[in-house]
Amino acid sequence: MNKWHELKAADLKNFLSQLADKWQVWVPYRNDGKWEFAPYDERRELEFPGSVIHVSVKQLLFPKRRPLATYDEESTWSVKSVTPGEKPRIIMGLHPCDVAGISYMDKVFLRTEHKDALYEAERKRTVLVGMLCTEMEKTCHCTDRGLAPDSAQGMDVVFTRTEDGYLFQSLSEKGAPLLESEYLRATDDKPDKKEWPHGKYEIASPEEFMEMYDDGIWHELSDICLTCGICTYECPTCVCFLVADEKFKGKGERVTVWDSCQLQSYSRMAGGHDTRKTPASRVRNRTLDKFAYSHLRYGQISCTGCGRCVMVCPLKRSFPQLGTRVTERIRNKKKMTRDATAPAKED
């Protein structure tokens, strides 16, 4: 286990400015009341939120719009592929659920049979500096997803706030060079472990969810859903995209753009056929994708418990609640079959 290093609160900006010489440093800032990552700016006031950062880090590694290639129709159709940025970068202040989201994206985009070159380049140049959460928001439920607000899993460097500063620990080879700074001092102090509440949104197993595929519950769950795409855009593990050509005055770009399984256009095919025509089938797709398909394909359910889907829903609906409602139905069904098959009691 690597040693913890202590940083005085007064030295935080000096330390970050020092890092900014070698790396692009991204930190959370408040913009219009919402926390989001932005490039470090020493003139801005710095604060690390103790809980969820509203705009998911997803868009730093997998942006909404990614140019793949540019072309010029006027000259000889010259096609140039786009090369990703190479300067190493640090994303600082990530929470355990953010890092869990990135681990999931790694499984999707870095699997050997379909490697996403742009994602790989973004991921390679990025050092994940995570911060242990100090509190849980009303919408947070990572503890129900096998995570914890103070779990450092997947981080390159972890830090935590103390009374008069910060404690840093490097957890990977990628993270070690960050802590070579005169502002840091090795210490025997360690962050305290805490007990966190859980049980807000418990869910059944992926296999049990799969058995609900043909159940009528999806109509009930989708009855007031608008099937807009905002929960998928804000979700740290929703990674669907479409490919489009966008051109202006003879010059064009081939881009990937975020897509959403909640939108009507998602499954539309030639001839106007659509395998997910009803809201129910689209809500089913998203629910099963989070709680079953992901696990069956990548060995990890793709809900990290960050709660962003609850925060952004225009109707203030709780998506994780849909998971628990399906779970309740599964349990009730099981109970009913158990009761039906149990031998009758003898008087």
Partner: protein, 281 residues
């Protein structure tokens, strides 16, 4: 409220409705959300007060495909939406039992919603059961549109483009709008591609202007597009500007008169001819 609950119970008992579309208070959070009540559901959860902001008419086409008869709770403005949907043959009135209670304005986080200032009808123009007394209404003022009209074109462009740049293209505005129901939305068309799918200013501006224009003379001003926008883009303002133009030219406020067709789909000898006469700016 008890009177309404009693009525719903009797509609269920007499078999006049299969489901009731209304609002339920979540006991754990105190939030009021749209809900579909079934016969065996506890109607004590049913609420109708100034927190019931959502326009429920948008759910009717989906529900009428699944159930024979649907009860729906309507504010006056929701009733305007119902009229527009019936006129455009989206739903069949025989499947709908409309309940409407005189509305005194709705509130979001304790503040009256802006649209209520220009309220056209306190009770739904079409209702099978009315609760309370309808109130007298005045002509609309369109205060916010008038503010924008005072700006120079450059100021207006700045005002709107700052908002459009933030659009994420989640289409919540389209999804909640009862009148936005094209089988293939213009934003989703592949060939020709009218609107690029990426969330950037040029494409977003296209989306917002086309969305507004497609609703000219049809929008019943429920304001839901703006309310659900995660980026708080003032979309109702665009619709309102068009509504104001339609009102000035045709003296029509869509949805306020049962069976009245949208003014832009009828020709009348009394239609204004300001463009031909050169009176239009």
């Amino acid at each position: 409220m008890n009177e309404i609950r009693k009525k719903i119970r009797s509609l269920f008992d007499k078999g006049e409705i299969d489901v009731m579309l209304g609002f339920r208070e979540d006991p754990s959070t105190g939030e009021v959300k749209a809900a579909v009540f079934k016969k065996d559901d506890d109607l004590n959860g049913f609420v109708y007060d100034d927190r019931c902001v959502q326009n429920l008419v948008n759910y009717l086409p989906t529900l009428t495909a699944r159930y024979k008869r649907i009860g729906i709770m309507l504010k006056g403005c929701d009733g305007r939406s119902l009229v527009t949907q019936l006129v455009e043959h989206r739903i069949n009135k025989n499947q709908i039992v409309a309940l409407s209670a005189a509305c005194d304005g709705v509130k979001v986080r304790g503040e009256e919603v802006e649209k209520c200032a220009d309220c056209a009808v306190s009770v739904s123009p079409i209702a099978d059961h009315v609760f309370g007394e309808p109130k007298e209404k005045k002509d609309p003022v369109y205060a916010r549109v008038r503010e924008i009209e005072k700006m120079t074109p450059a100021e207006r462009w700045k005002f709107f483009s700052d908002y459009f740049a933030k659009c994420e293209r989640c289409y919540a505005c389209r999804q909640i709008c009862p009148s936005c129901y094209c089988e293939i939305c213009i934003a989703d068309q592949q060939e020709p591609k009218w609107i690029e799918p990426s969330a950037k200013l040029s494409a977003n501006t296209m989306w917002h202007l086309i969305r507004a224009y497609h609703l000219a003379g049809r929008c019943a001003d429920c304001g839901e597009c703006e309310r659900v926008c995660p980026q708080d883009i003032p979309m109702r303002l665009l619709n309102n500007a068009l509504e104001k133009a339609v009102h000035e030219m045709f003296k029509v406020r869509p949805g306020t008169v049962p069976d009245e067709l949208p003014p832009l789909v009828v020709l009348s000898k009394d239609d204004p001819d300001t463009i031909m006469e050169g009176k239009d700016e």
